[in-house]
């Protein structure tokens, strides 16, 4: 089943808010009113709506001006064959979103379930809390094939975020709980204010000054994680057994940790 396919009728000259456009949405999708810049227009004015089915929604040739894609998603699948704008999968609780290109700011913000895969880069505050909110993403899985902007995982409360590339400044700032893995470099001040939770890193450079080396250890935890999370197995390597543990942020209680694991999974 191909599902519903949205094909842009032309270039956008303003930001498009697709927050309510989800697989299985009731009513005629083409007539659905959506904010477009300062106006509200019918979806059909901007996109050719074709296909049918409640399980899948495909956005052909995405655009960095498409905000709110998959926001509030509870089930089904969204595929974007290009870039998206801000708030990808914001507050989603289930389902799967696959973006072939890059995503803007606040992707997966306050997400509580489901899975998001971003083939390119993510903007700032990936999986973070919205402005004025106390808690960021609390569940689900986010995979970023490229790099992420500043404050990735800020106030993360749960779930797994994997950034295969670099993370911008202040990654995992004020992180509450959950898991953030960064395969590339940290831009600095990572984990500042981190209360609990786990960072998986390739090197300790870029951690905030509140982390202290607790030595290298054979951790049974690692063996369990790679068997319960395909994403962490891919990041850590299926044979991982050892990690160097840095406890922190000691200035914020010090119950969090950064586990340094070599790409092969062995130190």
């Amino acid at each position: 089943m191909t599902g519903v396919i949205l094909t842009a009728r032309g270039a956008f000259d303003a930001r498009v808010d697709l927050s309510g456009v989800l697989p299985g949405a009731e009513g005629d999708l083409a007539k659905r009113p959506i904010p477009y810049g300062g106006r509200v227009v019918e979806l059909g004015e901007l996109f050719d709506v074709s296909g049918s089915g409640a399980e899948r929604l495909t956005i052909e040739a995405g655009d960095a001006r498409l905000d709110g894609v998959g926001a509030g998603l509870t089930k089904g699948e969204i595929v974007v064959r290009g870039d998206v704008g801000a708030r990808l999968g914001r507050k989603m609780s289930g389902g799967v979103i696959s973006v072939k290109g890059s995503a803007g700011a606040f992707a997966a913000s306050e997400m509580s379930g489901g899975k998001i895969a971003i083939g390119g880069d993510a903007g700032e505050r990936l999986g973070a809390a919205d402005d004025g909110s106390r808690r960021g993403m609390s569940g689900g899985v986010v995979i970023v094939g490229g790099s992420a902007g500043a404050r990735a995982g800020e106030r993360l409360r749960g779930g797994v975020v994997v950034i295969e590339g670099d993370a911008g400044k202040d990654a995992a700032a004020d992180l509450i709980a959950g898991t953030l893995a960064v395969g590339g470099r940290l831009a600095g001040s990572a984990g500042r204010g981190m209360k609990r939770g786990t960072l998986f890193l390739r090197a300790a450079e870029g951690l905030s000054g509140g982390f202290r080396d607790a030595g290298e250890h054979d951790l049974v935890l690692l063996r369990v994680l790679v068997r319960r999370s395909a994403e962490l197995a891919a990041f850590l390597g299926p044979e991982v057994t050892r990690a160097r543990r840095f406890a922190g942020d000691l200035y914020a209680g010090g119950k969090g940790e950064a586990l340094i694991v070599a790409p092969s999974g062995r130190m």
């Binding site: 779930g159 898991t179 063996r223 369990v224 994680l225 068997r227 319960r228 940790e257």
Partner: protein
């Protein structure tokens, strides 16, 4: 019914509903996984005196365990869910948490739950760490050796306790040899445990006693030395009786285990001193599960 010279008596094992859970205990080596498993299932022969019945179900290969290390599956049964909720954390806390390199995982889902890390985390004195992955919560409790890792809780299932067979033989040695053969065969049946020492009970009991306050006492009808003083179930040539008690996660599992045991004993036959197979019951009025020996062997 006579099989290889062994009489299969027209009798049945009378068994009771229990509530049970399965735990997967792992360690760095098979030796330490088994040590933790045997320790935590120790002193768990009968609910009458131990509060639960427990035993090793099977050895779990490393590629089947939640952490990829050698493992052992254990089953623990109690008379009701509250009893199970009470004994499981105690036994894990005293016998698995303390055992070198061990970890402890839920071996079943569904049903009511019993605590593992949910109760044991407090040993961490505030340094314990929870991790939610794949919808399940695991705990890491710092210990002197490293970290004790365990699941938050385990599911439970309704089970069957008190399945049994009695092996009637011409000498103590032959009764024991037959019992050992039966245990070896019954150990291979999944979903069952044999909670008594080495799987064998030499002191089967009857309900009640002449003494006030005793719920169970020696089964004098099967005691060979009392033949002259009491009604007996033993033919003249029988000099010793061994019992094997079976607890299982389902009547089907207990039935399969019973059959495996009887087949092993029958294979030894009358030539090895086995006279008859019998089973313990209370007249059929107490337990809802009746495992009829001849039907099982039909």
């Amino acid at each position: 019914m006579i099989l290889n010279g062994v009489e299969i008596r027209d009798s049945f094992a009378e068994a009771f509903p229990m509530v049970g859970t399965r735990l997967i205990i792992t360690a760095d080596t098979p030796r330490w996984a088994m040590t933790a498993a045997k320790t935590m299932t120790g002193f768990a022969t009968s609910v009458i005196g131990c509060g639960c019945e427990a035993g090793v179900e099977r050895v779990v290969p490393a590629d089947e365990t939640p952490d990829g290390r050698p493992g052992v599956a254990v089953l623990i049964f109690a008379m009701d869910i509250n009893g199970l909720k009470s004994v499981v954390p105690l036994r894990i806390g005293q016998c698995v948490l303390t055992s070198p390199t061990s970890a402890c995982f839920a071996g079943m889902t569904g049903g009511d739950t019993v605590s593992i890390g949910k109760a044991l985390r407090y040993f961490g004195d505030g340094w314990q760490i929870a991790k939610n992955v794949d919808g399940r919560r695991i705990w890491r409790i710092p210990v002197m050796e490293g970290e004790f890792v365990c699941d938050h809780e385990s599911g439970t299932t309704s089970g069957v306790g008190g399945g049994n067979i009695l092996i009637l033989a011409t000498s103590r040695g032959e009764a024991l040899a037959a019992a050992e053969a039966a245990v070896d065969a019954m150990d291979k049946v999944e979903g069952c445990i044999l909670p008594f020492p080495g799987g064998v009970v030499r002191s089967g009991s009857k309900v009640g006693s002449k003494y006030k306050g005793m719920f169970a006492s020696t089964n004098n009808f099967y005691c060979p030395t009392l033949r002259a003083q009491t009604a007996t179930q033993l033919p003249p040539e029988v000099a010793s009786v061994m019992e094997i008690v079976i607890d299982g996660v389902s009547p089907e599992a207990v039935s399969a285990c019973t059959r495996a045991g009887i087949e092993a004993v029958v294979a030894l036959g009358r030539a090895k001193g086995v006279v008859a197979i019998d089973a313990g019951n209370y007249g059929g009025n107490l337990g809802p599960f009746h495992f009829k020996l001849r039907e099982i062997m039909a």
